[in-house]
Amino acid sequence: MLKNTTPPEFKVKIDYQRCRRCKRCLQNCSFGVYSFADRVVPDHSKCVACQRCVGYCPESAIEVIPNPAAFKYSSNWTPEHRKNIWKQSEQGGMLLAGMGCDLPYPILFDSMLLDACQVTNPSIDPLREPMELRTYLGRKPDSLQVETTKDGKLKSKTHIEQQIKLEVPIIFAPMSYGAVSLNTHKALMMAAKEVGTVMNTGEGGLHKDLYAYGDNIIVQVASGRFGVHAEYLNAGVAVDIKIGQGAKPGIGGHLPGEKIGMEISKTRMIPIGSDALSPAPHHDIYSIEDLRQLIYAIKEATNYKPVSVKIAAVHNVASIASGIVRAGADIVYLDGFRGGTGAAPTVIRNHVGIPIELALAAVDDRLRQEGIRNQASIIAAGSIRSSADAAKAIALGADAVAIGTAALVALGCRVCQMCYTGKCAWGICTQKPELTARLDPEEGAERLTNLLRAWALEIKEMLGSLGVNAIESFRGSRERLRGVGLDKQTLDILGIKPAGR
């Protein structure tokens, strides 16, 4: 390998006056920054600013700062471009990235504002009025016929397909066991159970210990079919077919053999040390008809559980979604280009796909125009950062949102974006036992439960101010959104008015 000439991204400053040489930083750093020679010596080039050492230094003697190394200023040739070229000219490979796109594309959620009631239309106080966040995901009938039973109760005469009951309109996004640690999976499942929502297994199968959480699990089937068998398909409340991922539309997954240890091997059902390749297309799906074949193969194997189809938000997303619904999917999962990943080529993560806000609005519009919106629920994902993003997504037409990165941040993730190295110092995106032990699933579940509780309170507060008492009445209420600083065409696609109108 050629000599590395790239300047370090960060500088690790140690206050030697405060440092008591306890070496806790050496133990905590999983990127090998520290060595000890009479005193703690950092190798700046290895630091990724994950903040683990900073948080665990008992003397607060460590500071990680951006390397002020002077690059001659150019707004065009940013340090990022230069550093990437140096790296690639040394190694001759594609750049890898973890988490979602970090480039400053416009974030439309931040250019939309919610409405509220004043004077003539009363708001609702969620503290003393019932406020309904319960949502059902799944196919709804075109019409409903109701009959009265002998004991005077009302009963549906119409057959209603199986539904997934969510107490909050927020689910945990698919993150595979293999990408994330088993403790991460456990924390997500325990929290999902506690809150009354679901987590999606991702494409790496479901660990034997976790089958007990079936009522709060959606199992995923991807092109590699890892760990997929009839028992797995029946383990959860629904099955998700992964076609694409927002962070890497049209790109497959690749879990390198080094990460396939004993437990991953058992769960994915492949030999230890073998590469797990999930190519971009399912090689048996080249059309909507082929997709329909897989949807119904899964339905036949699961006594007609709801089937979800997850796609990346791409240019033509509306007609693709229409095809997916017509293929028989009960849920369409849309993942915007800012969605996270454990590993993706940086060039794809940063430059492919479209924002979830536009994709969601376009899909909801198309399904309504075609009169098939009731046939499937929509889940929106791809960087839902707060309850406000969730509420705006629901106003744009989503039935629920999915959170991946936000959940990991709750578990301790510092968004250092080094997920693809497998060295996560916080024990999340790693399989190294000494690192995974750092994440206590019980504590993690408590943090996640707290997060969803907090967001639920905030959503209720927002609904109250809008004078709406059920999330299902709020879905698709674009009239309650206004755009600020958006051009006419963007407003048109979002189906919202500019603020002031």
Partner: protein, 249 residues
């Protein structure tokens, strides 16, 4: 308790109802089910895990034995696409030709086809512990045979194949990173994916092949000697890690 051998008439029965009847019969204790009049119904045997035998006379629809985990299915006719999709265990015996994408992601069990097979047969085949899947096709095969194959045995016999027709299509073993493909006959270099190499069979291979072919011959009443009268070649991946040096860190 109903009788162990049952007959189900599939004539003009929609697949959903047909598969319901099959599952009900198994729940009622059937160990052998004969389907008559099968005509394109999909998903027969989908997700079944009991030790049951299903025999049918007509041509079933796509995805026979998808996610299947144990039963034996005998098709006395042709079979269509997707047979053995993500199959975990069991056996499918096809007394005719079979379509595309057979045994996708198959993890265990056997697919025995007497005739020709289509495109993308045996792709993503895996194995796990004692489960090693085997597909044996008696005729010729289309493109992408064994694509992305990770484990298992994929065998192409080319019985009754004339010299002027190709035994196999192009891109054979593209992306293959495990398992083994045995072909009775020759394959030209341009028909192979970049990730596979051609080898001669050694004693281990013959030891592995013999019982597999014996069972295959027994299923169709073929003579093993006649199957073995022509030399086989072996295709294995050149590297277990065909996708190294892709990334910069």
């Amino acid at each position: 308790m109903s009788k162990q051998k049952v007959k189900i008439k599939a004539d003009a029965v929609y697949y959903r109802q047909l598969n319901e009847q099959i599952r009900k019969s198994i729940a009622d204790g059937a160990t052998e089910i004969e389907l008559t009049g099968v005509n394109g119904q999909r998903y027969i045997g989908d997700g079944l895990h009991d030790r049951v035998k299903i025999i049918m006379d007509g041509v079933p629809g796509n995805d026979v034995a998808a996610f299947m985990n144990g039963p034996t299915i005998v098709i006395k006719n042709n079979s269509q696409d997707g047979t053995g999709n993500t199959m975990n265990d069991g056996k499918v015996v096809i007394h005719g030709h079979a379509g595309d994408v057979l045994g996708y992601g198959m993890r265990g069990g056997k697919l025995h086809i007497l005739g020709d097979v289509g495109y993308r047969v045996g792709i993503h085949m895996k194995s796990y512990k004692d489960k090693v899947p085997t597909i044996i096709a008696g005729g010729k095969a289309g493109d992408f045979f064994g694509e992305y194959m990770a484990c298992g045995n994929l065998i192409l016999l080319g019985l009754n194949n004339t010299a002027d027709e190709p035994l196999i299509g192009n891109y054979t073993g593209t992306g293959m990173h495990g398992g083994v493909i045995y072909i009775r006959g020759e394959v030209e270099a341009h028909q192979l994916g970049a990730e596979v190499g051609v080898k001669e069979l050694d004693a281990e291979d013959h030891k592995r092949l013999k019982p597999l072919l014996e069972e295959y011959c027994a299923d169709f009443g073929l003579e093993l000697d006649k199957v073995m009268d022509k030399p086989f070649i072996k295709l294995i991946p050149i590297s277990h890690r065909p996708y190294g040096r892709l990334y910069a860190y």
